[in-house]
């Protein structure tokens, strides 16, 4: 019997465990398996195999019963996920429904989750910008959160490492606030986006519209063909899963790559309840997993554990990993686990029309989505009455317009002979928010989910800084639009709850001092160094960039460190 147990335990022991198969977990899997480590990847959702499990990917619009719309009953039952722009008939099977995994909204928070193999990497908006030292030095300069324990130079080589493999399209723009990377050719700005870019340069000097940098193979290299991926075909149906592997996802890229090493074991339907801690050894030894379908519990073991469960689920797992050494959650000696969470402020939008450049339009579809305006506010010095700033999307398009006022033969003729509309321009803000102690996550004391895990309480709200930033974005953009001669300007503030940005971050923040942070500069828990956190939970501040590229770079760097530490027997 003892022998059987030893044998069984051996079979459940790996060189590394990665919790989560999304954008950062996929990278951990790739890096570990490439370096020869037998790696177990645990995914709480079902398996989604590249191409095989994209049921809607090749459907024409008329093949969807409701032509894209989500039925009323589903929207009623799932108000949170229904607010997400991508929750449509073609992709709703990749989202967690509200009722499947409840959580406690101490303040309104739209928690958008994609729990399957690949996670939200199937669904993301694929925008990828590097951070600069304007971002890493933000907290120290402006006196909030804690100082980041790393600077741009620490991450730059790892940005290159992940960019080359993932395939990021973009221009070398030479902007210190948005460092250039190892890019594939950019998707060019169209005539009005270009015109606006010139208008900003003329009127402001330090405000720029650049081609949005995105994880699409505009011109694949050998490394991408080696992954089985091909050039992006401009379908812009990415949320369905791409049959060409035209955009980066764990499913199309890192996971199959890891699988080919022969070192990967991927277990779907595996809900991690907690990380196991051995008091004698003084380190984590493995994880306790509940099978999502059978509810059976199993333990798995490894000398190093990466927690990449998505920002808030990572917090939940660590808070739930209690022991007599860590009664308040793994690594939580200072009581700050779950605190200082933040997000991106996406509330404000502006749109207008442009009557010029009528001789041009576009042809085909732009997967990058258009232009990107890097942060210009409070960049070199504090210049407003709010801290930090915002980046913005900007795009221009001309739609086909049908006159639907008539009926009969006339209506039919109109529908079949649309005219080209005016240029429509629009922008949305992506504001940095300030992590605060009162913005926090905790475990419910009385409510548990279907797997016996306490529900997550979420308590995050906007503050005065966010309100001022929304107002400033709208004022500045209106001025910029007006100077460019755009007309019929409409400003809006959706007042949407935090979370709908799908950029929730923090709770397990990095920092130099174990008294004020949870993770060190290599993403190891200060108090339990064989556990690494490299998803959104590790973020000390949010800056304005779309965060995924930074998670990928931090993950690859952390795996490199972990493997070195294992070799040196430091962990």
């Amino acid at each position: 019997m003892a022998n059987l147990n030893t044998e069984s335990k051996k079979q459940r022991t790996y060189d590394a465990i990665v919790i989560g198969s999304g954008i950062s977990g996929g990278w951990a899997a790739k890096e570990f398996t490439e370096k020869g480590l037998k790696t177990l990847v645990l995914e709480r959702g079902r398996d989604v195999k590249h191409n095989i499990d994209y049921p809607t990917t090749n459907k024409m619009p008329y093949e969807f019963e409701h032509r894209g719309e989500v039925p009323h009953e589903i929207r009623e039952k799932n108000p949170v996920v229904s607010r997400c722009y991508a929750f449509r008939e073609d992709a709703m099977h990749f989202f967690v429904k509200d009722e499947e995994q409840p959580y406690v909204q101490e303040k309104p928070f739209d928690w958008i989750r994609g729990q399957q193999v690949g996670g939200k990497s199937l669904l993301w908006a694929r925008q990828t910008q590097r951070w600069s030292d304007f971002d890493f030095e933000g907290p120290a300069r402006d006196g909030f959160a804690v100082d980041w324990p790393i600077r741009y130079k620490d991450l730059a080589p790892w940005y290159s490492h992940v960019e080359k493999f993932a395939g990021i399209s973009g221009n070398t723009d030479g902007l210190p606030e948005l460092p250039d990377g190892d890019f594939l050719p950019a998707y060019p700005l169209n005539s009005v986006e270009n015109y606006f870019s010139q208008s900003l340069r003329k009127n402001y000097g330090n405000r720029h519209v650049i081609s949005a940098r995105c994880a699409h193979l505009s011109k694949p290299n050998q490394i991408h063909f080696d992954q089985g991926r091909a050039q992006c075909q401009n379908r812009t149906l990415c949320q369905r899963g791409c049959p060409f592997g035209g955009y980066f996802s764990s499913n199309a890229s890192t996971l199959p790559w890891a699988e080919r090493t022969g070192n990967l074991t991927l277990l779907p339907h595996s809900v991690v309840e907690s990380v196991l801690y051995d008091e004698q050894a003084g380190k984590a030894t493995g994880v306790r997993v509940i099978n999502a379908q059978t509810k059976e519990a199993t333990e798995y073991y490894a000398p190093v554990i990466f927690v990449n469960a998505s920002a808030f689920n990572t917090n939940q797992i660590l808070l739930n990993s209690t022991s007599s050494r860590f009664p308040n959650g793994l690594g939580n000696d200072n009581g700050l686990l779950g605190k200082y969470v933040a997000f991106h402020n996406y509330r404000a939008r502006i749109r207008a029309e442009y009557e010029g450049l009528q001789e041009f339009t576009t042809d085909g579809r732009n997967p990058a989505g258009g232009g990107y305006i890097p942060r210009f506010r409070n960049l070199h010095r504090q210049e407003t009455d709010f801290l930090r700033g915002y980046a913005a999307g900007f795009n221009a398009q001309r739609g086909l317009v049908e006159d639907t006022s008539g009926f009969g033969v006339e209506l039919k003729k109109q529908l079949l002979n649309p005219r080209l509309g005016n240029w429509e321009v629009q922008s949305h803000m992506m504001g940095e928010t300030i992590p605060k102690e009162e913005s926090q996550l905790s475990l419910s004391k009385d409510q548990k989910d279907a797997w016996g895990i306490p529900l997550l309480n979420i308590s995050i709200g906007y503050d005065d800084n966010d309100e001022k930033m929304v107002a400033d974005y709208l004022t500045q953009m209106e001025e910029m639009f007006t100077k460019a001669g755009f007309t019929n300007i409409h400003k809006s503030d959706s007042k949407q709850a935090p979370g709908l940005d799908i950029h929730e971050m923090g709770g397990v923040r990095m920092g130099n001092d174990p008294k004020t942070s949870l993770l060190n500069k290599y993403n190891q828990l200060h108090a339990c160094p064989n556990v690494y956190v490299t998803d959104g939970a590790c973020m000390t501040s949010t800056s304005t960039q779309n965060p995924s590229l930074t998670y990928m770079a931090l993950t690859a760097r952390a795996v490199d460190h972990a493997v070195g530490e294992l070799k040196k027997q430091n962990i």
């Binding site: 090749n58 024409m60 619009p61 008329y62 019963e65 409701h66 032509r67 719309e69 989500v70 039925p71 009323h72 009953e73 998707y187 060019p188 700005l189 169209n190 005539s191 986006e193 270009n194 075909q233 401009n234 379908r235 149906l237 009528q358 001789e359 041009f360 339009t361 576009t362 042809d363 085909g364 579809r365 732009n366 997967p367 086909l400 049908e402 639907t404 008539g406 009926f407 009969g408 033969v409 209506l411 039919k412 529908l415 079949l416 649309p418 005219r419 080209l420």
Partner: protein, 178 residues
Amino acid sequence: MDRRSAVKGILILTGGLIVVPSCVMEDGRASIPLRHLEVSQTQEKLLAEVVEVLLPATETPGAKDLGLHLFTLDMVDDCYSPKEQKDFMRGMEVFQKITKKQLGNSFQEATPEQRQRLIAEVNAGKAPEEVLAFYSILKKQTIKGYLNSELVMTKLRKYELVPSRYVAVHPVTTASIS
């Protein structure tokens, strides 16, 4: 299980108590399964004729042949709120009554000229509010169903599933407007 026979069963069991509106009982249900709407065969025929006036068959098929009345019913049944569904059904009933009163006949029995004239009135907003609510849903879904039909998307205004290009600066020509 066939839904219509299931309903018949209920009628027998309840001794013909009001389970479904009387009009549905008289002439049977619509030809597609509906979960919320109680639509009679007569009403289905009416809708087929109204959408045909909206988008008639010409050298290309019209709304009736494309089944856009059934598409509308499916959309209203699945994607609209109970309140909107009620408004739609109520509006259709008022429309039926008005037709009968004005033409002395049902819409489907009226002459093509009479149908044209009636829809022209409604399309111009000259109808009771209930009818306009019904009509606006019907017209919206008919247009949506038409533009998103296989016929239009593959033959008349081609939809490209795989464009394989993005030309950022493209001169406007008539060819590009399609």
